[in-house]
Symmetry: C2
Subunit: 662 residues, 2 copies
């Protein structure tokens, strides 16, 4: 394969001698890295340190791509070894034999994101999705299953997605019909599109499936419920009436045995219905604590929020792995001598390289800190410290939003890192290849990102449905104000800090000073408010008589996506800003503050067209913004290695053949 050439007319360089760099590399500052790590580790630092000490040979990724069957076997064994660790039990309440340390469970799971993502997903299916369904949708009659699934003795899968319905779960076609004659539930796939598809753990290991199906009792459909269906007998053969297919090879995650399930009038006892939100009593009568079928459906799904939070965590970890590999490469790699010099320049000294790498490191910081807030909020909800339905819904909205931003960030970042490492980035041995292949699905599983962003925006509107009904201009303004003030589950101290920062910034005027944190935050708020307000106006038209509601809805789709994005970006930015203020170590705080600048400014810069189009920035200020992002990149460049060292990626999981100079 040939390569690019530069048109500058240098004489052939001699073997480079090791003379000082253009930008003298600070030796990575161990104390600073350590202080940054302590901050980045957030509330579950001990758990992270425990995971860091786990044996990389046991839990690490394979050193070469294995044949699919071998890879699957390896991951199954790793899962057994993982069951010996305390963290599977952390995800379940004490009455089910767990330790109810939900935040720790998710933090430990996130650390698996630095290892083989197949193991990450397999563990997520077993304990998060299958275990979560049993634990959260089941009743006391299912509690006995939990210790068995925690230990791995009982393996299960989560059979929700169907071939014909991915994003639209509510419309899935599998039926679960109560037969009072035998006191059984009959699970059936009425059409090929009802086939359960892409089901992790189904092709090889699971003996029990948590099957989502339309529950029909006495001829009446009660919407989607979950039923436990044995899919394999003791010998591992498909159970009677169950057809199991293998999804076969995929782009990545080949250690996960994704499969397909078809049910032909499969009978299970009535007690197999996970009946917390809708059960059938001994007389064969259906009842639910939630009357409204739609509310019931969303409540059930809402309990499974941990899945999205966990995917966000793993995606963030994978992106940090890629950034660490690439930064280590970039601070050592030299290419092209500067005019008048025979010392080749370190690639990270090139502006184009800095622009591609450093803002992504800053965003990795932002998302990591946002993840902590999210996990802590989840911990509060699951442990029952927060009980309002509003808090639950806000958690779901936040989880959806952070999942989108983090998985998008992971996909984009790993791609960019692959390219930044050139041919070396394409080799399996340097890890980027596996990271790329394995994480690619994250943008569409546990919720398609585009659909999720619309969900985020709609949730924001729904929350104010009462106000929305008669929304006049004054109402819209109030709506915007309340949106900023009240929609998020935030530590009240954080909210106070952010408000103080914003209040301290000069008012909106031509002469925007981008270096002021409050101004940065205000710009992101303004974008969110404007987008949501505009959306409210447009959607209101859909309710007018004679209007084609679908046409209006469809025309606002991209507006919904933008509004959802703007909301989550603002939330992440505010979390970062508040977190900087709370950083105890002075040196770390100074660097962190600059990283925060880079994340916020590059986020604003990405939406430069919007700010110009809406007259929030003048052309001159927009140009100044780009110049400032360049400056901050150059300023952070000497800290690059320290910044990724602070990720604290477990030893042994980043071994690569790459080194810059040789």
């Amino acid at each position: 394969m040939s390569t690019a050439t530069d048109s500058s007319a240098q004489s052939p360089a001699e073997t480079p001698t090791e003379t000082p760099d253009k930008t003298p590399d600070k030796a990575p500052d161990a104390a600073l890295a350590s202080a940054l790590r302590a901050h980045l580790d957030g509330p579950f630092g001990e758990v992270r340190d425990h995971c860091r000490a786990l044996d990389a040979a046991t839990f690490g990724p394979p050193s070469v791509p294995l044949p699919m069957d071998e890879h699957r076997s390896r991951v199954t064994s790793q899962l057994s070894a993982l069951a010996q660790q305390p963290y599977a039990a952390s995800g379940f309440p004490e009455r089910q034999g767990g330790t109810a340390r939900y935040g720790e469970a998710v933090a430990a799971f996130e650390m698996l994101g630095h290892s083989d993502l197949s193991l990450f997903v397999k563990a997520g299916v077993q304990w998060g999705l299958f275990g979560g369904a049993v634990s959260l949708l089941g009743t006391s009659r299912h509690d006995h299953l939990v210790p068995r699934l925690v230990s791995g003795e009982l393996q299960g899968c989560f059979a929700m997605t169907e071939t014909g319905h991915g994003s639209d779960v509510q419309s899935l076609l599998t039926t679960a019909t109560f037969d009072p004659a035998t006191d059984e539930i009959v699970v059936h796939s009425p059409v090929p599109a009802a086939r359960k598809d892409y089901i992790g753990n189904a092709a090889r290991d699971a003996s029990l499936a948590a099957v989502f199906a339309q529950l029909v009792v006495d001829g009446e459909s009660h919407g989607v419920h979950c039923v436990l269906v044995p899919i394999r007998d003791g010998a591992g053969a498909p159970a009677r009436g169950v057809t199991i297919e293998d999804c076969g090879p995929k782009l990545g995650l080949d250690g996960v045995d994704n499969g397909r399930l078809l049910f032909d009038h499969v009978r299970v006892p009535r007690s197999n219905l996970l009946g917390r939100y809708g059960d059938i009593d001994d007389d064969g009568a259906y009842s639910s604590p939630i009357d409204n079928p739609s509310r019931r459906f969303f409540t059930m799904l809402g309990t499974l929020v941990r899945g999205r939070i966990s995917v966000a965590g793993g995606a963030g970890a994978a992106a940090r792995s890629a950034l660490a590999v690439t930064t280590t490469y970039a601070v050592g790699r030299r290419q092209f001598a500067a005019p008048g010099s025979d010392v080749e320049t370190t690639v990270l000294d090139y502006r184009t390289y800095q622009r591609r790498l450093l803002p992504r490191i800053a965003t990795a910081y932002a998302l990591q800190l946002a993840q902590h807030e999210l996990v802590s909020a989840m911990d509060d909800v699951l442990a029952g410290r927060t009980t309002s339905e509003q808090d639950q819904r806000q958690l779901e909205t936040r989880a959806a939003g952070i999942k989108v931003l983090t998985t998008r960030h992971a996909t984009d970042t790993i791609q960019e890192c692959r390219e930044l490492c050139g041919g070396a980035g394409y080799l399996w041995s340097n890890r980027l290849a596996a990271l790329k292949a394995d994480t690619d699905i994250f943008t569409t599983f546990e919720g398609d990102n585009t659909v999720l962003l619309q969900l985020v925006a709609k949730s924001l509107l729904t929350e104010y449905q009462a106000t929305f009904g008669d929304l006049d201009t004054a109402g819209i303004v109030r709506f915007g104000a309340r949106l900023v003030g009240g929609t998020v589950i935030e530590r009240s101290s954080a909210r106070g800090i952010v408000q103080r920062l914003v209040d301290a910034a000069p008012g909106r005027e031509e002469d925007v000073t981008f270096g002021i944190r409050g101004t940065q935050l205000r710009l992101l708020r303004e974008r969110e408010e404007h987008l949501i307000e505009g959306l409210a106006r447009r959607l209101r038209r859909a309710t007018a008589p004679g209007v084609d509601a679908f046409a209006v809805f469809n025309a606002t789709q991209d507006h919904l996506v933008d509004a959802g994005t703007a909301h989550v970006e603002r939330v992440v930015a505010e979390t970062f800003a508040a977190s900087v203020e709370c950083c105890a170590d002075e040196d770390a705080r100074a660097v962190l503050s600059r990283v925060c600048d880079l994340h916020l400014l590059s986020t604003i810069e990405r939406h430069k067209a919007w700010y110009l189009e809406h007259d929030r920035l003048s052309p001159a200020r927009a140009k100044a913004l780009t110049a400032l992002v360049n400056e901050v990149c150059a300023e952070l460049r000497p800290h690059a290695q320290t910044l990724v060292d602070a990720f604290g990626i477990p030893a042994g999981l980043l071994t690569t053949e790459m080194s810059g100079t040789t």
Copy 2:
């Protein structure tokens, strides 16, 4: 794996009945598709049809990912079968036993881009890179090798890239030292960084390597030259002094045996020097037809331009495969019923989906047509119909630019297509996984895209070096004017058409009418001119005394990248516009014109921030632009299947398990 849910409160849909769609799908229009295909096929339609008729079982991709060794064997066999086809010989002049149909060779090669990309790359290495080096850098004493390499009897590799030097070929470290005592050349890797790396065909099959090395004669270095070095003996073992390593598994292209070569004072006869641009005579004296070493270097590399053109062709083909798979999925897939309806909506009817898919189809058209121009220009140069150095340099610039745009387009498009197909897009069987993995390297091989864009911009400046020397304001304006008028190798008719379109557009004023082709083109021209002019001004400062030239150069890097991009985008846009005017079929021309609108408008929209920042578009016009792109998407939606049918992807190469509804 769980999925997203929509918050609209629909009752569970029944099995969808097949009723008419929201947007009635026109049955794909075979006559229209055929007319569009004839236009898209360009000057080498017969070659394409011949390739379409090739047996997919013989030349197609494997149906499952094979173990690496097995995949490599398969590709090696396929290469032998391919050697029976007439197209390998097309790429060589008659005096070397070829048929000198260079354009046909590249067009046929491009069609391989719809098949297994490993075969595409393997063929490219054997006939394009290795064959090209022998043919174009060798002298008559090497002509006898060509028939043997065309038939595949002699297999070779192209050993340019080194571990320590990828983009900066001029600084590579391998030495080729003439030893007059034995009349031999000694090829040597003096340091580990001199190791030849990522060399296709090296790990398994090649017996001869075209090795790029610093040629030293009588103690004097003459810069990079190419020497033929046998790397394997008759039994396939490494030749004496040659160390061969295997790069091992990669993200994709596992059918290509990439390897590493190290030379320990390997002696080859003097005649092994490919001496067309620098040779050693019987007296041991070096001479070259080109005195200036730098010019000599770039002339040698310039002859190898076909590699980049071919990669662009393959990348374009791969992107079209992905678009065809995805469009077929999207016109059949339904998800979510519209309010008040129990018929689920076809996903391509959603605006967000249209926005993600249709502009990429339009860009695929643009790049395919630009590729034809490029291949025709290359055909003229290689066949000697165009001989000026300026034309050669312009061809190189154009090739670099189109390579960047097309490989970027391929990577982005295949990623987007994967996501648009959800879980189905992640399965190996649906082809997107292989397309993604295999093409990922294209953005950095045959020239790193970021480096190439800077090369493009520098070439534009270099071409006007004389003017540039004393560039005052008037000079800069002339420079801009000449840039648009004269830098491209275009059929003069095309240039005339474009100028006529631009002249017909109203002048620059507030009330820009985006629907007018000339206005669309003028906007793209203005961006290019402004960026190049600004660049010229900034770089001029670097020549002032006392200025840190590296700092100036580095600060303008992103400006160079933008200028290079703007140039190529303008060229591609003009080619498309001219091509529309030349389309003979009236119906096809009407649709093509709308596709051209979509490509041009979405290109302008992507740079919306720039137009606003430079006061070329008002906020109101910028918003109108987005609305218009939405409109054109909706208008083209019923033609989507026809548009991808027109790609004429060989039967048997697109078989997937995906279908929309089931």
